[in-house]
Point group: C2
Chain length 348, copies 2
């Protein structure tokens, strides 16, 4: 059965579209009062993330307000290490934490293999329910974190400013690091394939901290593992579009275009015209407005949306998005201005 609105899937595969599809990262989030209601009812973040009804509800909330071209399943990139028994919890204002961080090669060896359909059943249930409820109105996106990004949290024990522990681990214990990254990669491939089997129409890999590495370390410790994920997904689901989003890795866009991914996410520090040049138009591009523009006046938001659309220029393969997620203190009305502006300026 065909999707009612398949603009996103066509753009991701560089087919012609009547206008530029738009969704934004963290569109299901704290900036929406109706999200905060559910969050309050759940008590804590993981209780909400593990409840399929709540997941379905918050995933669909932004679509009720704005004419978006996709929804992304509400979840967290740290579900995999949590399923590996690391004890994920959230401290308000401090972000995610792990009870048992990785600090030795032995810790890596002791990490269990996970069965995604069992250990992460709640994610698949959330996707199935959302997919049914959505009833093929727009595509549903699944996602996971990149192996390197997950590794930073797993080794640091939570968020970090300069990733000193995770980088020391890479530098001092490269073998154990590769073992850890491979374990995460194997789990991620199964995880994304299970998400697709449950109803996800496309998937995105979030590499939030790739840009903290030098170009060489990025290729060895982050990009290569994302490429393995792309291959593992494509092997089982050749038709499902895969998006890779690494923040701040401008010069590796050229290499990322050869990973087999259909689309690359681009942040606002790289012009889309330059990104097209670097990727030689081999892939679709997603992005790239600075989310801070949503703090501006409506007229400024419209101008900035137009600039992004113009910077991509003629041709197929652009998905409008922010270069980073929505912030909790943003006004929902501003996102409406953005979505309408994308429609207005990209209509052909």
């Amino acid at each position: 059965m065909k999707l009612e609105n398949d603009l996103l899937l066509r753009a991701l595969t560089k087919q012609k579209t009547e206008r530029t599809p738009v969704w934004v990262m963290r569109q299901a989030g704290r900036y929406l009062p109706e999200y905060r209601e559910v969050r309050k009812k759940a008590g804590d973040f993981m209780t909400m993330a593990k409840n399929p009804e709540m997941v379905c509800e918050v995933t669909l909330q932004p679509l009720r307000r704005f004419p978006l071209d996709a929804v992304i399943i509400f979840s967290d990139i740290l579900t995999i290490p949590d399923a590996m028994g690391m004890g994920l919890y959230f401290v308000t204002g401090e972000g995610p934490k792990f009870k048992k961080p990785i600090s030795t090669a032995e810790d890596v060896d002791n990490l269990p293999e996970i069965d995604v359909n069992h250990d992460l059943k709640y994610v698949m249930d959330g996707i199935s329910l959302t997919s049914q409820t959505l009833n093929r109105k727009v595509p549903l996106l699944g996602f996971c974190g990149s192996p390197w990004t997950l590794m930073t949290y797993m080794v640091e024990g939570g968020s970090s400013k300069n990733f000193s522990k995770a980088k020391s681990f890479l530098l001092n214990q490269p073998q154990a690091s590769h073992k850890l990254l491979q374990k995460i990669t194997d789990a991620s491939i199964n995880y994304l394939n299970a998400q697709i089997a449950s109803g996800a129409n496309a998937v995105q890999v979030f590499d939030s901290w790739g840009g903290a590495l030098s170009p060489e370390m990025y290729r060895v410790f982050s990009m290569d593992y994302m490429q393995k994920i792309v291959q593992g997904v494509k092997k089982e689901n050749p038709e499902t579009p895969v998006i890779l989003f690494s923040k701040g890795v401008q010069y590796n866009l050229k290499n990322l275009a050869n990973t087999g991914a259909d689309c690359l996410g681009v942040d606002w520090t790289t012009d889309l015209s330059l990104a097209r040049e670097l990727t030689q138009d081999k892939v679709a591009l997603q992005g790239n407005m600075d989310p801070c523009v949503l703090y501006a006046k409506d007229s400024v938001i419209e101008e900035e949306v137009k600039k992004v659309i113009d910077s991509f220029g003629e041709g197929n393969g652009h998905v409008f998005n922010l270069g980073h997620g929505m912030q909790p203190d943003m006004q929902p009305e501003k996102l409406e201005v953005l979505v309408n502006a994308v429609r207005k300026f990209s209509e052909k």
Copy 2:
């Protein structure tokens, strides 16, 4: 009178050197126990920064331990807004704060012009005393923050994660923003010229947050004002080398090379070979090892130092530095390994 060791000044102006000169950002800092002693005696950060004897002492401390090719005056980039009456103070673990942040165009109009020789006399006294004590052993660097970087602290009222207030100010009040940036620029030009008159042999402009802006906004709101600073310094001190260091602005290196600066700081996310290509060898380059390498084993530090030196390749105009400052939890012995490795691998 000639400097005993003028390697840095020669490298900054792309003259031949027997080996690559090395200094590192925040080399006078909390990772040194003797620095923590002085800091403890002072009580708080600004008391130390305003005491010329203490400034001289901590500036010279790293030179007693390591054979460095330069020292940088101990101070803070926020001395200018402090002198403008914004009320700078430091909260342990939270960084700098301002009692009276800028939030309106009127606040900008009300910012007073400063007389750097009077209002920032303590900086000049610190430089004079350090210069005398140093007795021309190695060059003494002066510095200031970039106008955009100072603006972020002045508008946010302190550190920030995503600069939402400062960016909103740029987007919603571009005229007031330009007025503010020009006021900071005027003060910075006088400030650097006064530092040179007091004994600084070269100066660096720190643009810590340029990389948070889109390429276009970077050029309009950050780079153009740094260029004015370069021009203002060169007008009065044509022989004094000027270094610009913007973090994470790879694609603007090409434009930065045309600002008139002698040298550009490069962080570890850009290979030096690429930086040379982008800047067409018009300027010297300073950098660019990831400071996190200093958490690694000695042998890894040596390998990484060699990689940086090799990535610059043949030719003149390289100053070895880290891509960011020393961290408080680093071991002083590791910096010694780095400095010795630079000497060993770059000796011609």
